[in-house]
């Protein structure tokens, strides 16, 4: 484990008692915490400060997670990478449980994601709370209105097809179903004693519904009225989120990783730098471009020399031309 480069997760800052004010970032961090792997956290003030332009983002050595247009899709990409390369939380499940897992994950994605997006971006009160928490301290005046407004336009365009009336009832159905499932399994997690991917996905939404003032009251009341959901959330929060995450600056200080800026600026004076051989395609391109230039130069030279506009060639021909011109002039005078 120590030979592997450490994971760095980029997320929105914490707020309202939540580890991050964005549910997608809570999902990604929850997955990493449930795996128990060591990771560092880099808090970004806005999503464009992250290396992919979207939050959450995961960096591990040379790898960086792909940035998607939607933050939940970015979280899904982070979780997919972590499943494949760090630890797969679903490895212990039986086949029928995997089928259930897929069904629950899809349900959360299709219904809870939409409901959370609607309550954060399309509701007036939700959007203003989010704006205040996420942008007002961090960006100067015109930007803290412009940047969230442009993001809101994007989200609204993506949600244009959804039926707004059905969004909250669908989410409430899912919350009821999750609560029933938790009651029936009885265990600390949704699929028994060990955590799975769905637990990480649920943490994002449920924690957000429980604590954030930017969430619609109907969702918040539902979560608070279902005691089993509250207990589930509190248990996970207490067990896994109690230790604050290691910030990235502390990580760099401990490994003595100097910022690369100073290394690049220092340089020894070398008279000839190393020669890089051009690839065959590049050599062919160069050859062709030289031929082109030669051809163009030859065309210009031949035009200058042969067209007679700039250089008069043989004086013999000129003399003959003059005689003829004189004759012509005489003829013209005679005619006039």
């Amino acid at each position: 484990m120590s030979s592997q480069p450490i994971c760095i997760i980029y997320k929105w800052s914490d707020c309202w008692g939540l580890p991050s004010l964005s549910p997608a970032c809570i999902q990604a961090e929850a997955y990493l915490r449930l795996t128990g792997v060591d990771f560092a956290v880099e808090v970004c003030s806005t999503s464009s400060s992250s290396p992919t332009g979207q939050l959450p983002a995961l960096e591990r050595g040379a790898y960086i997670s792909p940035g998607a247009s939607d933050e939940f899709a970015s979280a899904a990409a982070v979780i997919a990478y972590a499943k494949k390369h760090i630890k797969d939380l679903d490895a212990h499940l039986s086949l029928s449980q995997r089928a259930d897992l897929l069904a629950f994950a899809n349900l959360i994605e299709s219904r809870l994601n939409v409901a959370t997006n609607v309550t954060m971006w399309c509701e007036g009160r939700g959007f203003s709370e989010l704006k205040k928490a996420a942008y007002s301290g961090k960006l100067p005046f015109p930007l803290n209105q412009l940047v969230p407004w442009s993001k809101q336009r994007e989200v609204r365009r993506r949600l244009a097809q959804t039926d707004m009336d059905q969004v909250y009832p669908n989410a409430l159905e899912v919350l009821d179903a999750i609560a029933d499932r938790l009651r029936s399994t009885g265990g600390p997690f949704l699929f028994g004693a060990k955590p799975t991917t769905v637990d990480a996905l649920l943490m994002g939404h449920l924690l957000f519904y429980r604590l954030s003032p930017a969430v619609a009251p109907v969702l918040q009341d539902k979560v608070q009225s279902q005691r089993v959901l509250c207990e589930y959330v509190d248990r996970l929060l207490g067990q896994n989120f109690s230790v604050p995450a290691l910030p990235r600056s502390a990580l760099e200080a401990s490994t003595n990783e100097a910022p690369s800026w100073t290394d690049a600026a220092k340089g020894q004076k070398k008279p000839t730098p190393t020669v890089v051989e051009p690839s065959p395609a590049e050599q062919q391109f160069r050859r062709h471009s030289y031929y082109w230039l030669l051809g163009a130069g030859a065309a210009i030279a031949s035009y200058i020399l042969l067209s007679g506009r700039y250089i008069q060639f043989a004086t013999v021909m000129e003399q003959a031309g003059e005689d003829e011109a004189d004759n012509d002039d005489d003829e013209e005078d005679v005619e006039q």
Binding site: S13, V41, E42, V43, C44, S45, T46, S48, S49, S50, P51, T52, G53, A62, Y63, I64, P66, G67, G137, K138, L139, P140, F141, P142, L143, L146, V147, P247, R248, S249, P259, S260, W261, T262, A264, A265, G267, Q268, K269, K270, P271, T272, P273, V276, I300, I304, L305, Y310, I311
Partner: protein, 520 residues
């Protein structure tokens, strides 16, 4: 100039007919051939006699017979001071000044004044006839040019004087081969409310793709409010913009990744230009703008925002989103003809710039990469690739496939640019002896080019250490080649030899073609 001349000759030829008519008649009686009149002496003798303009007749024409658009009160305002003239020489000066003011509006193609002795009974009064013809009300423009190694196509449309107030409305769109594009709309008002200045308001959206050299893209949306002097020598501008730096390729180096984000640019910029180049000398110097020297200085102070009451919480990324810096750039160009025919000219170009962040903890963080100076390429340092000289950082290596094979190609580097920059260019440019080549404006030149760029902020080093580093890491190159100079810049084909380069500089071997844009 012809109109000034016409304003000069006619007044005294005709307005002093009253005083001299008797003398002329006597002269005519004596001689049959007309006497040549010495106008200069006549003018000198009567120029201080009282003479005032009592009426101004306007003869106005629209473009090509179209209706005349300019508002009457605008023309009245510019012609008003003519009535203050008391003597003939003052009338002359006022007519000159009024002609200049009307031309500065930029809407008239022809401005002519004619003063004549119309109220014949009053020898100290004259009438002025003004003839004005407008230019066309719209203009379309399409151009291609090379800027910063990217070929750009530009389309512009402008409406001149559409509402009659001599305003200029313009819209511009540029598109580059590397997907950079810029769209802007502008409103220009010369001589607003009679002030001798040009007022400009411009809104633009700019997208610049710097992925190839520095792995980031810049998007700037904002507005610029400017006041320019009518000769173009002084300009004061205020710019307010939203700058967003992103890295869609996800392969940027650490130093560039730390720069990504949203920034507010609120800056005041002052540009002054002193141009003492004389085109009249001719020869090779005329092709590069004339013999003499020119200096352009540009000072920009960014961060002019009212201080916010709450201090920003210390977020992990640490970068403050309001750009706060002072940027100064000076460009000097001097052309000295080496012999009296002007066939050989020695050109010297010096550029220097400094970017310093200010504000609390300003110097402890690196400056924003989009404001820094870059070195390399045919404009600043020949012999090096575009943005190839200066600090650089290693890009994120591409993730090796599951087979574990390592790629052969060396990982590319990002050009980071620097805060202190200088570039020196000295060349001897000569006309080629053949007349055909002279017609093509083809010259030859031999040059020496040097420059350096280092970072200043974000590094905790003393100024003396920085200065010694600046001197010891200077880059030099020399070479010779063919050049087609234009006043906007030089098209060059050079063979360069790099004399001093640093580790990680990207050197261009052999033939280098390019367009060196002139800074001044």
């Amino acid at each position: 100039m012809a109109t000034a001349a016409s304003a000069e000759e006619r007044p005294f030829a005709q307005s002093n007919d009253n005083q001299l008519s008797e003398g002329e008649r006597k002269g005519e009686d004596r001689l049959s051939a007309p006497q040549s009149v010495d106008y200069t002496t006549l003018y000198e003798s009567i120029k201080d006699k009282p003479c005032r303009v009592i009426q101004i007749n306007q003869h106005v024409e629209g473009f090509n017979g179209r209706p005349f658009r300019t508002r009457a009160n605008l023309i009245e305002r510019e012609l008003e001071p003519i009535h203050n003239a008391q003597t003939l020489s003052e009338v002359h000066e006022q007519l000159d000044a009024a002609g200049r003011r009307l031309k500065q509006l930029g809407v008239f193609g022809t401005v002519e004044f004619l003063a004549h002795e119309e109220p014949l009974d009053d020898p100290s009064a004259c009438t002025v006839d003004v003839h004005l013809e407008e230019t066309n009300w719209y203009k379309l423009r399409a151009a291609t040019y090379v800027e910063d190694s990217e070929r750009t196509f530009e389309l512009g449309a402008s409406l001149t004087n559409a509402l009659g107030n001599a305003e200029h409305l313009g819209a511009n769109f540029e598109y580059g081969t590397e997907n950079s594009h810029t769209a802007s709309v502008s409103y220009r008002q010369p001589r607003a409310f009679g002030f001798p200045a040009l007022f400009e308001l411009r809104g633009s959206q700019l997208f610049r793709n710097n992925q190839k050299t520095s792995s980031y893209t810049e998007q700037l949306r904002g507005a610029v409010l400017g006041v320019k002097s009518l000769s173009g020598a002084h300009t004061v501008e205020y710019e307010l913009g939203w700058r967003r730096l992103l890295d869609p390729s996800r392969s940027a180096s650490r130093a560039v990744v730390a720069q990504m984000g949203d920034y507010l640019k609120s800056a005041v910029r002052y540009t002054a230009l002193v141009d003492r180049r004389d085109m009249a000398a001719g020869g090779a110097a005329a092709a590069v703008g004339g013999a003499g020297w020119a200096v352009k200085s540009s000072t920009e102070v960014a961060g002019i925002v009212p201080p916010t009451g709450s201090s920003t919480s210390s977020s992990g990324s640490g970068a403050d989103s309001t750009l706060r810096f002072i940027r100064q750039q000076v460009d000097l160009v001097a052309n000295v003809p080496m012999d009296e025919t002007g066939a050989v000219v020695f050109s010297l170009g010096l550029s220097a710039g400094l970017l310093l962040p200010w504000g609390e903890a300003g110097m402890s963080r690196p400056s924003c990469i989009a404001d820094r100076f870059f070195l390399g390429g045919p404009s600043s340092l020949r012999g090096f690739k575009f943005k190839g000289a200066g600090p650089s950082d290693l890009r994120r290596p591409p993730v090796s496939r599951s087979g574990g094979e390592t790629t052969q190609a060396a990982t590319r580097r990002d050009a980071l640019g620097g805060d202190a920059y200088t570039s020196i260019f000295a060349s001897l440019m000569f006309q080629l002896p053949h007349p055909a080549l002279k017609l093509l404006n083809l010259h030859g030149h031999a040059f020496v080019n040097g420059g350096n760029v280092i970072p200043v902020s974000g590094m905790s080093r003393t100024p003396s250490v920085l200065l010694s580093e600046f001197g010891s890491t200077f880059r030099w190159s020399c070479g010779a080649g063919l050049v087609v100079p234009t006043p906007l810049g030089r098209f060059e084909a050079n063979y360069c030899v790099v004399l001093a380069a640093q580790e990680h500089d990207r050197v261009r071997r052999g033939l280098q073609l390019g367009f060196a844009a002139s800074n001044v």
